[in-house]
C-alpha cells in the first residue's frame, strides 16, 4: 500500500497545481473546498460580516426567536446567535490550526528521525507513539485542564502532541520504504549523504498523504475542541461553537432548536475537511481502483458457433472461447477464441509466456474468473455438456467432484487460519458427503500417498509450519481427494525448488496413470511438457497457435512462435538437467 502511494503520488501529483486541480475536478472536492474557503473567509473577516459584536447583550432578546435584527435569534444571555457563530469560526479555526501544526511538525520530524536511524531509537519512539495512541485523549485533556489554565489553545497544543503518532507512522513507513531502494544505496556508495536524499525524496512523496492527514486531524481537533468547550472548559467569555452548544444545552427545554446552528457549523466544517481528504485520496488511488462493472454494456453471450456433438472419448472440448475483462474503453479480451480438445486419460500441456491467456483459459473452465471477468462467447463442453454458461450453483457441483484444481503458489493457496487436516477433510465432507471420521482416514491415506513422511503430523500442522513442496503435495492430495475426472494444474511446479519440482511432477504423473485422470497442465516450461504431457497446445496473445503430439511438436515445431520458445529453452541449460526417478528421458 505504501509503495503504491509512492509510485502513484510522485508522477500524478507533481507540483502544487496538479494536486489542487485534482481536488477541484472532483465534484465533492470542489464543494468541500468552497465550503472550507467560505468558513476561512468568514473567520478572517468576522468583524465585517457579523452585524453585532459577539458580546452585545440585549436583555429583552434572551432566547428570542429569529427576526428583528437577530438573524438566527438570541441565545440564553440575549446575544445574537448569528454574530457569535461568525466569531466562533475564528476561534475554532485557530484551535485547529494549533493542533495541526504541532502534530504535523512533531510527527513528521520524529518519523523522519525514527525511520532514518532505525534500530533501538525507532523501537523507543514507536513505543511512545503506541503509548500515546492508547490513551483516551479527552480524558487526558480533562485531567490536565487545571494545570494548563483556562486557555483552550494550550489544551489544543497538548492535543496536537497526542495526535502526532498518525504523522509519525506515515513518515516512518515512507522512510523505511525508500531507505533501501537502489538509488539510495547507489548514492551511499558514491559517498553522498543518504540523509539528504531520503529527506528530499520523502518530502516530495509525503505531501499528499500529509495533506490528507492534516484534513483528518483538523476535523478531529475541531470536534474535540468543541467537546471541551461544550463541557465548560476554556474561556467562556470567548464565543466558540462548543461554548454556544453549551449555552443552547442549558436552555434546551426552553428553545430546543438553538442547539441546531452551532452543531451544524461544526459538522459542515468537519465534513468539508473529510471530503477534501477523500478527494485527494481518490486521486491517489485512481490507478488501482476497479472499474465499475455495472456501467458496462451488457453483452449477450453469442451462441456457440459449432454445435456438432463432441467426439467419442473426448472429456473436454473448448470451442472458440473468448474471455474478457471490463476496462474503461470497453471489454478487453484476454482469451481470443481458444479451442482445445482433451481426451479421457490424456495429459494436455497448455504452454505460453505469462500474459498469453493460459491461466485465464484454465479459470474459465473452472468458472472462477476474477471479479468482472466474463466468458464473452464460445463453449466449453465437459462430458458432453456445455458448462461455459452454467449457473454458479450447478458449476459448484462440478468443482472438486469432477473438475479439480492445483494452483501455482502453494503457500498462498492454503488458508493460514486452519489446520491442514481441516482443509483436507472439508472438501470430502462437503462434496462426497462422507463422515468426518471417514474423511480423516482418507486424508491420512492421501497424505501418505503424496509422500508425506509423517501424515499425522502434517494433518495437525498449520500451513506456515510446512515447506512449500509439502504444501504443494497437500494441495495435490486435496485436488484428487474426490476422484475428479479432470485435473487442472496451473504451473504446479513453478514456485518450487528445482529438486522438488521433479518429485512433484513424478507424483502428478503417477497419480494421473493410477486414476486415469485427464489433466490440463498450464506451464511455461517445455521441460515439464516433455516430461509429462501427451499433447501440447501453444498459446500466444490469447490464441492457440499450434497443437500437436509432444514428440512431433518437439521434433518439428510448425509455428515460428513455438520454434522461438523451444529455442529459448535450448539456450537455457539449468532447468533441463534433473533426472526423473522413473528414468524417462527429457525428450520422451
Amino acid at each position: 500500500m505504501m509503495s503504491a502511494v509512492q509510485q502513484k503520488s510522485s508522477p500524478s501529483l507533481s507540483g502544487r497545481s496538479g494536486l489542487l486541480r485534482s481536488i477541484l475536478t472532483n465534484p465533492l472536492g470542489l464543494i468541500a473546498a468552497t465550503l472550507l474557503g467560505a468558513v476561512v473567509l468568514i473567520a478572517i473577516f468576522a468583524p465585517l460580516i457579523a452585524p453585532f459584536a459577539p458580546d452585545d447583550l440585549q436583555i429583552f432578546k434572551v432566547n428570542a426567536a429569529p427576526g428583528d435584527g437577530y438573524l438566527l435569534g438570541g441565545d440564553g444571555s440575549g446575544r445574537d446567535i448569528f454574530s457569535r457563530l461568525v466569531y466562533g469560526a475564528r476561534n475554532t479555526l485557530i484551535g485547529a490550526l494549533i493542533t495541526v501544526s504541532v502534530s504535523s511538525v512533531v510527527g513528521v520530524t520524529s518519523g523522519l528521525f525514527a525511520g532514518y536511524f532505525g534500530g533501538r531509537r525507532e523501537i523507543v519512539m514507536s513505543w511512545i507513539s503506541d503509548g500515546l495512541m492508547s490513551l483516551p485523549s479527552l480524558i487526558v485533556l480533562l485531567a490536565f485542564y487545571q494545570s494548563l489554565g483556562s486557555s483552550i489553545e494550550i489544551s489544543m497544543l497538548v492535543f496536537g502532541v497526542m495526535l502526532a503518532p498518525g504523522f509519525y507512522r506515515l513518515t516512518r513507513n515512507l522512510v523505511n520504504g525508500v531507505k533501501h531502494e537502489l538509488y539510495v544505496d547507489a548514492a551511499r556508495v558514491s559517498g553522498l549523504s543518504d540523509l539528504r536524499i531520503i529527506v528530499g525524496h520523502i518530502l516530495l512523496v509525503i505531501r499528499a498523504p500529509v495533506i490528507i492527514q492534516i484534513s483528518v486531524v483538523a476535523g478531529i481537533s475541531i470536534v474535540i475542541q468543541s467537546g471541551l468547550q461544550f463541557l465548560g472548559l476554556g474561556d467562556t467569555s470567548i464565543p466558540t461553537w462548543g461554548g454556544m452548544l453549551q449555552d443552547a444545552f442549558a436552555n434546551m427545554f426552553v428553545v430546543p432548536t438553538a442547539i441546531f446552528w452551532p452543531g451544524l457549523a461544526i459538522s459542515v466544517t468537519v465534513a468539508s475537511l473529510v471530503l477534501l481528504a477523500n478527494a485527494i485520496r481518490d486521486r491517489l488511488q485512481q490507478g488501482n481502483r476497479p472499474v465499475a462493472v455495472p456501467n458496462m454494456p451488457v453483452l449477450a453471450v453469442k451462441p456457440a458457433t459449432v454445435t456438432e456433438p463432441v467426439a467419442e472419448g473426448v472429456l473436454l472440448e473448448v470451442r472458440d472461447l473468448v474471455v474478457g475483462y471490463p476496462e474503461k474503453s470497453g471489454w478487453t479480451e484476454v482469451v481470443k477464441g481458444v479451442s482445445l480438445t482433451l481426451r479421457r486419460g490424456e495429459v494436455l500441456g497448455l504452454v505460453g509466456e505469462s500474459g498469453s491467456g493460459k491461466t485465464q483459459t484454465a479459470f474459465a473452465m473452472l468458472g472462477l474468473l476474477s471479479t468482472g471477468g466474463r466468458i464473452l462467447s464460445g463453449s466449453i463442453w465437459f462430458d458432453s455438456r456445455d458448462i461455459a454458461n452454467l449457473p454458479e450453483e450447478d458449476m459448484r457441483k462440478l468443482r472438486g467432484r469432477r473438475i479439480a484444481y492445483v494452483p501455482q503458489e502453494p503457500m498462498s493457496n492454503l488458508d493460514p487460519a486452519f489446520r491442514i487436516g481441516y482443509q483436507l477433510t472439508e472438501p470430502m465432507v462437503t462434496v462426497l458427503g462422507i463422515s468426518k471420521a471417514e474423511a480423516r482416514e482418507r486424508a491420512l491415506t492421501l497424505l501418505a500417498r503424496v509422500g508425506m513422511p509423517n501424515p499425522l503430523r502434517t494433518f495437525n500442522a498449520y500451513p506456515h509450519q510446512i515447506s512449500g513442496g509439502m504444501a504443494q503435495r497437500v494441495l495435490i492430495a486435496r485436488a484428487i481427494s474426490c476422484n475428479p475426472d479432470l485435473l487442472i494444474a496451473d504451473e504446479p511446479t513453478t514456485a518450487l525448488d528445482v529438486t522438488v519440482q521433479a518429485e512433484v511432477l513424478n507424483l502428478l504423473r503417477d497419480l494421473q496413470a493410477e486414476m486415469n485422470m485427464s489433466v490440463i497442465l498450464v506451464t511455461h516450461n517445455f521441460g515439464v511438457v516433455a516430461d509429462i504431457c501427451h499433447r501440447v497446445s501453444v498459446m500466444k496473445d490469447g490464441r492457440v497457435v499450434e497443437t500437436n503430439d509432444v514428440t512431433e511438436l518437439f521434433a518439428a515445431p510448425r509455428h515460428d512462435y513455438t520454434k522461438m520458445l523451444l529455442g529459448a529453452v535450448l539456450d537455457d541449460v539449468t532447468p533441463r538437467v534433473y533426472q526423473p526417478r522413473s528414468g524417462k528421458g527429457v525428450a520422451a
Binding site: S134, A143, S226, G400, E426
Partner: protein, 312 residues
C-alpha cells in the same frame, strides 16, 4: 503465551508509571490555586494555608508523589478534595455505569459494523454507498451534538425515551435499557462508520486471497468460504479496530454522560477537572489506563486464537 502476557504486562506497567508520573506532575504541579478555588474568593491567607497543609499540597512535589505511589499501590488513591468520599469508592461506583454503557456500545459497533462491512465487501451496492456516506457523516457529527438532537427528537418531542438519568440494571433491566438507548446511539455512530470501513476492507482483502479461489475450486460451499475462511482471516483487523474504538468510547463517554446526566466515570472526570479535584483525576487516569491495557491484552489473545501465525 505466558511469556507474551508477562511481556505485555511489563510494557503496560512502564506505560502506567510514565503516564501517571507525568499526569501527577501536571495536575499536582498545577494545583496552586486549588485551596483558593475550594474556599472561594473571600478566604484568608491563613485559611488557605491551613487547607493546603490538610491536603498535603504544601509539601514538595516529589514527596507528594512518593506518598501517592505508596498508597496507590495498595489501592488507596486518597480522599476526594471536593466530593467528600474516597477516590476508590467514587471511581469504582462510577466505573460500572460507564463500563455497562461502553460495553453495550462496543458490541453494537462490532455487530453493526460487521454486518454492514461484510455485506459491502460481498455485494457492494447499497451497503457500499451506506458506508461511504456514513464515513463522512459519522466523522463530522460530534457525538454530543448527535446526543442533543436525539434528546430533542426522541425524548422531548416523541417522548419515547427519558431525556436524562440512569437506572441500574439490577433495579430495572427495562429502565436500564431505556436509559442507555439514546446515549449508546449517540456514542456508536462514528465507531460504526470507521469500523465498518475497516471490516469491508479486511473482508475484500481476505476474499482476494489465492486460497479463496482454490477453496471455491474445491467445491466448498460459498457460505463456508465466506463465513468460515474469509471472515476468520479478516477477524484480526476487525478486532484491532474494536480496541481502538474502545479507547475512543472511553473519551466519548465523558461528554455523552454529561449530555444525558449519567453518573459515570466520564461525568465525574469533568466535574473533577472543572473543580480541580486532583486525587479524583489521578484515580480516573489510572483506571482508564488499566482498562485500556486489559482490553488490548484481551484483543491480542483473541487475535492469537483466531490467527495461528501469531505466536504469543
Amino acid at each position: 503465551m505466558l511469556r507474551y502476557v508477562s511481556k505485555r504486562v511489563l510494557s503496560s506497567l512502564i506505560l502506567l508509571v510514565l503516564v501517571t508520573t507525568l499526569t501527577f506532575a501536571m495536575v499536582f504541579g498545577g494545583a496552586d490555586n486549588v485551596a483558593q478555588n475550594i474556599l472561594g474568593e473571600n478566604a484568608t491567607d491563613a485559611q488557605i494555608a491551613a487547607l493546603e497543609t490538610k491536603l498535603g499540597i504544601d509539601r514538595p512535589l516529589y514527596v507528594q508523589y512518593a506518598d501517592w505511589v505508596v498508597h496507590a499501590v495498595e489501592g488507596d488513591f486518597g480522599q476526594s478534595w471536593t466530593m467528600g468520599e474516597s477516590v476508590s469508592r467514587i471511581v469504582s461506583g462510577r466505573l460500572i455505569v460507564t463500563l455497562s454503557m461502553v460495553t453495550v456500545a462496543v458490541f453494537t459497533i462490532g455487530i453493526v459494523a460487521s454486518l454492514l462491512g461484510i455485506t459491502a465487501a460481498v455485494k457492494g451496492g447499497w451497503a457500499d454507498r451506506a458506508i461511504q456516506v456514513l464515513s463522512v457523516v459519522g466523522f463530522s457529527l460530534p457525538n454530543f451534538w448527535l446526543g442533543l438532537i436525539l434528546v430533542v427528537v426522541f425524548a422531548l418531542n416523541l417522548r419515547w425515551f427519558p431525556a436524562t438519568g440512569y437506572v441500574d440494571f439490577s433495579t430495572s433491566p427495562i429502565g436500564w435499557a431505556a436509559a442507555l438507548t439514546l446515549p449508546v446511539a449517540a456514542l456508536v455512530l462514528s465507531g460504526i462508520a470507521s469500523a465498518s470501513q475497516q471490516v469491508r476492507g479486511a473482508m475484500i482483502d481476505a476474499l482476494r486471497q489465492d486460497y479463496v479461489r482454490t477453496l471455491r475450486a474445491g467445491g466448498i460451499k460459498p457460505s463456508s468460504v465466506l463465513f468460515r475462511h474469509a471472515l476468520r482471516n479478516a477477524m484480526p483487523a476487525a478486532l484491532t479496530v474494536l480496541s481502538v474504538q474502545f479507547i475512543a468510547l472511553l473519551g466519548g463517554a465523558a461528554i455523552i454522560e454529561r449530555v444525558f446526566a449519567i453518573p459515570g466515570l466520564g461525568s465525574v472526570t469533568v466535574q473533577a477537572a472543572l473543580s480541580g479535584d486532583v486525587p479524583v483525576l489521578m484515580g480516573v487516569v489510572v483506571t482508564m489506563i488499566i482498562l485500556v491495557v486489559l482490553v488490548n491484552i484481551l484483543i491480542d489473545l483473541a487475535n492469537a486464537w483466531v490467527n495461528p501465525k501469531v505466536r504469543l
